[in-house]
Amino acid sequence: MLRKYLFLLLFVLVLVACSDDDASSKPSDGEETETETSSEPADPFGAYEETLTIAIGQEVDPSDTSLQDGDTPLDNQYTRHVKENLNIEVEHAFTASPSNYDQKVSLAIASNDLPDAMVVGPVELRQLVEADQIADLTEIYENYASPAIKEIIDSSDGVALENVTFDGKMMAIPNSQASADGVHNLWIRKDWLDNLGLEPPKTIEEFKEVARAFVEQDPDGNGQDDTIGLAGPDTSNKLYANFLESTNNLYGFDGIFSALHAYPGYWLEGDDGQPVYGSILPETKEALSVLRDMYSEGLIDPEMGVREDSGESVISGNTGMFFGPFWMPYGPITDAVTNNPEANWQSYALPLDANGEYTPHLSTTTTQFVVVRKDYEHPEAAMKILNNLLANESEFDPSIGGPGYYPLRLVYAPADEMEVTTVALREVLAGTKEPEDFYDMPAYKLLKSDVDTIHEVKLEPYDNMDIEYWDPEANLGQWTRAYSALVGTAPLVDNEINGVMSLIYSQTETMEDRWVNLKKLEDETFLKIIMGTEPLDSFDQFVENWKSQGGEQITEEVAEVVNQ
């Protein structure tokens, strides 16, 4: 008997020992092969003599069907380009769909099994730095970043670098994106407005009237009670963009909050000059009560918060209004127009506040980062891949493989990219300038192809943007781009934007432990208040709980950061 148990015990010990060996053998691998980083001269675009492999984490959208001719996420125009120009072979350490990518990254961090390089958000970046899992890229950036990337990053007034600098070391390569991503326009079915003889709503009151008419007066004329006034967030989107995720919130209520001067999720300057969290201010309560009334009157999608994808009802032609960034034509609007060529989605910088001004919240321009695993022998390879993208982006054809397939893709765009594109397209259409006038602006990497193709997709009259004066079928890819500029971005060009910035766009120390639960408290309370399952006054209880469960301490930390 005893011997048998001893045998079992021994067996267990052997297994445990084996698995430990496994774990400890990894770092030593890295040490053995550490070589030649310094021996090579710093050339941002130099190809490696021997093929270098880099294993990355990559987002792959399963619904993206753009790859052609047997191309795969690992073998396409982008990876071949990287191989030819840099002699770098890209491999996948993991792939994940857009909605699961963050989870996959979290898992890689938790199990300390990182790919050689990957794209992460600000929360994960902080976690990686704390855990000492990623490489210091200060010198890599100095020596290997291409002048074009440095120029764009410098144009952000140091914001981009600030976000990746920890204890004076640059721990990641930041992106820098167009500021238009952070403004959430009002998108309306203008054909519905016309059917009912209405104007785009200027004030919150008019906004409610339009929503009511869309719900009750059968704007699509199909005789059925099947229309939604205002779309609401689905399970993967938020009620409003917040300081950590300040861009690209789809179907939220950003426009309504900001028209009422409520900026939940943002750090604002209080009356006493000290930082205060927007979600706990009385303006937010006021805005919630407006939304609550709208929901109970049926003006907002009754299925908000439960839907998997609010875009579906935009595509199917049931939704009349929603809030979203300029690029919504890249989202559901393409399909909506393909389904129904008369779906005239137009975009407005509305509704306005009580003084008639447009006061949206604005985003930071840096939201994504490329990190490189500590001990990876060739950290500069990641930098070279990024250099290569910015230098050659216009060579790629998005219709045979979407830009998301570029390995480690970070967006590098001048902050005013979309606004410049919109103005340029208008000037070309008006005939005041020729396409050639815009050829010499390399930082605006897609501008040349934009001005060259605008006449293919835009029909006369050139100053009327209604959908009937476009020809999406001529070149769907270019139509998407041009419509995003001339319709989606136009409100940002034509209106004065009195935007509000958050005081910070990154986490403080206490947030690492407490923020998730505070955020959950906030999200649940607000969602329930709007949907009427909790009374409006539960807001006051929320404020108290928020303060006592770490919010007060966090506010002090934010004040420290801001007053530095």
Partner: protein, 296 residues
């Protein structure tokens, strides 16, 4: 001597199961240490700073903790009750069906949902109970306003329990049917001769005949009181119903893997394991008391 040699290859057959148990259940147990640390994935379980019971203090401060434990136990107990009674009643009714082909086909049909994963069934259920889905259309025919079923925190636990029972009762029915065939037909004949009606036979022959099976199933399912079904709830819930639908497993998943709160997730998981261990010991004791079922 002879019997010892005979036993040896039985022990060898245990090896695959044993390896599995070691790799997936015993080795990961060292991870419990994370609950007492300020865990740093870069430094690993053995290199992170020890902070004692700090995480547990924070855990009990959170209103969520009590909430998810209550939800878990409530949903799990309802599931256990539903999964005992519904199959039992159904098996008894099916047992009375004399037309064998019909009996077999019904048995197979109700068994089918058991083989579908919750990922698929979750999508199907969400659509059936959607705002404009078939259920609401039927209610509409009676003049009832559409109900947002999966957005109602008061309804959510019952939808979860109901759909779980619907999915699994076919499987449990088969166990009862097997037990029913084990009853000696002579007992029915004897009861018939004594003039017992169908109902009397059910009461005095059938039910006592499967009593042991029923009690055993009930007692063994006690060990699952803290497993309310991650797959199912994960595929059905949304932030609106967290207050009544969030269970320990989904909460730990979100805290640990989505929000990188390793310590907190581990602490809650550990608490669950301790409570689960007590319940399994208890159910083992009860199984021994009532049905003489024993492993050791």
């Amino acid at each position: 001597m002879k019997s010892k040699g005979f036993a040896k290859h039985y022990y060898f057959m245990l090896i695959p199961g044993f390896i599995w148990l070691t790799l997936f259940s015993i080795v990961p147990m060292f991870g419990i240490m994370i609950a007492f640390q300020s865990y740093n994935p870069g430094a690993g379980v053995f290199g992170s700073e020890f902070v004692g019971l700090e995480t547990f203090r924070y855990m009990f401060e959170l209103s969520d903790t009590v909430n998810v434990f209550f939800n878990t136990i409530f949903i799990a107990i309802m599931k256990i009750i539903g999964n005992l009674i519904v199959p039992l009643v159904f098996a008894l009714m099916l047992n009375e069906v004399r037309y064998l082909r019909l009996k077999r086909s019904i048995q197979t049909i109700v068994y089918l949902p058991h083989f579908l994963s919750w990922v698929i069934l979750g999508g199907v259920l969400l659509d059936i109970f959607a705002y404009g889905g078939p259920i609401n259309q039927m209610l509409g025919a009676f003049g009832i306003d559409p109900i947002l079923f999966f957005g109602r925190e008061d309804l959510f636990p019952f939808l979860v329990v109901g759909s779980d029972v619907w999915k699994e009762f076919g499987f449990n029915t088969i166990i009862y049917l097997a037990a029913l065939t084990g009853i000696n037909p002579a007992l029915y004949e004897a009861a018939g001769i004594d003039g017992a009606s169908r109902l009397r036979m059910l009461w005095h022959v059938t039910l006592p005949g499967i009593r042991t099976t029923a009690v055993l199933l009930a007692v063994l399912s006690l060990g699952n009181v803290l497993n309310a079904g991650f797959d199912q709830i994960f595929n059905l819930y949304n932030p609106l119903v967290y207050s009544t639908g969030d269970i320990i497993d989904t909460w730990v998943y979100r805290a640990g893997l989505l929000n990188l709160q390793y310590e907190l997730a581990t602490a809650v998981g550990l608490l669950k394991s301790v409570a689960g261990f007590i319940l399994i010991s208890l159910s083992y004791y009860l199984a021994y008391r009532f049905t003489n079922y024993r492993i050791f």
